[in-house]
């Protein structure tokens, strides 16, 4: 129920506060009522038709690096 999927914003509709986004190639209409400063190309988390948050690319890269670090630790 709390699931939210990463989606890339492909088009803004400033008159309605909505945007078109692509979730794994599927087009969805999302409300931008809960977020500020979203641009075309940004990734957002979409939950029940609303963009909840922007996804922070730098932080995602850092987290992936943490996985790799644990991997290094585990190689004998």
């Amino acid at each position: 129920m709390c699931l939210a999927l990463p989606a890339q914003i492909t088009k803004l509709h400033p008159d309605t506060g909505m945007a078109t986004a692509s979730v794994d190639g599927v087009k969805v209409e999302v409300s931008l009522a809960l977020v500020d400063d979203v641009q075309v190309g940004d990734y957002v988390l979409v939950h029940v038709g609303y963009a909840l948050n922007k996804i922070d690319e730098d932080e995602a890269i850092k987290t992936l690096a943490l996985f790799a670090e644990a991997g290094l630790m585990s190689t004998p």
């Binding site: 709390c2 699931l3 977020v35």
Partner: protein
């Protein structure tokens, strides 16, 4: 797909599993409660438990809004359609939850009640606009993730002057439930918590700090992908080994300490605390749910319609309440898989894919079978 596939890589999962195996102290047991049903689902679906050493145990928490909603509230919703002839709109997850007398929203709909599944609160507004002669009620459930979209449409309805739209509000709060679990008269033994993903993207990581401080419990905010869950488990195990107990944030790509303040402000504008609310399994919890503020009373279905509180009892033998407290596991229920299946659920934990029973039945039992054979 970006932000999904990188967090499901099989080889990295194996490496994380090895790192965890090397980090655990063999002489102790690690009991990690995943608060969210989304984590429960991921743990079963991706076999995360199988990748853990035997002394790391996941305890499934109450973070499934469909699971914790008491039966009486479903009965209330069915009464609304049947006695007041409203159009009732709700998220699909609620349709099959058992109500009193083997009823459910799905069965009521099959019997002719005007119940509509919606994807978004925006759909409800459209239905209200398109049916000015009918009362349209949104049966709202969900944790802090799902609450802001409800607040948004109540404000929108007011701005548009819609007089046929109202909300039956059942939004509940995560920290209050965490507190109830920690303060239970017979507490379940839990060493640490995997904190919610998307609830935290709204409320931030700050609200959990008090639990880390006052109850000495490590908490790691964890993403919903399998590698997120494993990395977070590793972080919790390290904290427990080092006797530390702080809030750490593994899901930093979506969660900050303060969360989404715009969403929080919108919610606070329209909704306020209920003095108490009943949770399946956890009982009455003070300040654990939200109701519509007086300024928006016109949009409150509980004000607009006569909705007496209904005390309903659960199906005999269903262990949902104990499972939601973390005190029992799905395999402890005698009805599991015999009387109770996802096609014919007896309790709420078998309905949503995030319910522990449904997750276990869909993914876990096959694993146990193959492990035995």
């Amino acid at each position: 797909m970006k932000y999904i596939s990188e967090f499901r890589q099989h080889d990295l999962a194996q490496q994380l599993a090895q790192a965890i195996a090397q980090t655990v102290h063999p002489d102790r047991h690690y009991r990690l409660m995943e608060f969210c049903g989304g984590h429960t689902h991921a743990i079963f679906r991706y076999g995360v438990q199988d990748l853990m050493p035997a002394n790391v145990e996941f305890i499934h928490g109450p973070g499934c809004p469909v699971c914790v909603l008491p039966t009486g509230r479903i009965d209330n919703a069915i009464q609304l359609v049947e006695q007041h002839n409203v159009i009732l709109c709700t998220y699909a997850d609620l349709m099959r939850v058992p109500a009193t007398g083997r009823n459910s929203l799905l069965k009521a709909k099959a019997g002719g009640a005007d119940i509509r599944m919606v994807y978004s609160t925006q759909d409800v507004l459209k239905i209200a606009r398109d049916n000015p002669e009918r009362q349209v009620v949104f049966f709202a459930i969900g944790f802090e993730t799902t609450t802001p979209p409800t607040a948004v449409v109540i404000k929108q309805a007011q701005a548009e002057g819609l007089t046929n739209f109202s909300v039956f509000c059942n939004h509940v709060l995560t920290p209050a439930a965490m507190q109830a679990i920690l303060d239970a008269p017979v507490p379940v033994a839990i060493d640490a918590f995997l904190g919610p993903s998307h609830v935290s993207s709204v409320i931030g990581s700050r609200p959990y700090e008090i639990f880390a401080e006052q109850y000495d419990k490590p908490i790691v905010i964890a993403g919903f992908e399998p590698l997120d869950v494993m990395q977070s488990a590793l972080m919790l195990i390290r904290q427990l080994n080092d006797k530390r107990h702080v809030v750490e944030n593994e899901y930093s790509r979506a969660v900050t300490r303060d969360g989404n303040q715009k969403a929080q402000a919108l919610t606070a504008e329209v909704l306020e605390l209920r003095p108490q609310f009943e949770w399946r399994g956890l009982g009455l919890i003070p300040n654990s749910a939200l109701k519509i503020k007086a300024a928006y009373a016109d949009f409150d279905a509980e004000q607009r319609f006569d909705m007496p509180a209904i005390q309903a009892s659960d199906v005999k033998g269903c262990e949902c309440p104990a499972i939601l407290r973390g005190a029992k596991k799905p395999q402890d229920c005698k009805l599991l898989g015999t009387v109770c299946t996802p096609e014919n659920p007896m309790g709420s934990c078998m309905v949503s894919s995030e319910g522990a029973c449904a997750a276990y039945w869909s993914y876990g039992r096959l694993r146990n079978k193959s492990a035995k054979s």
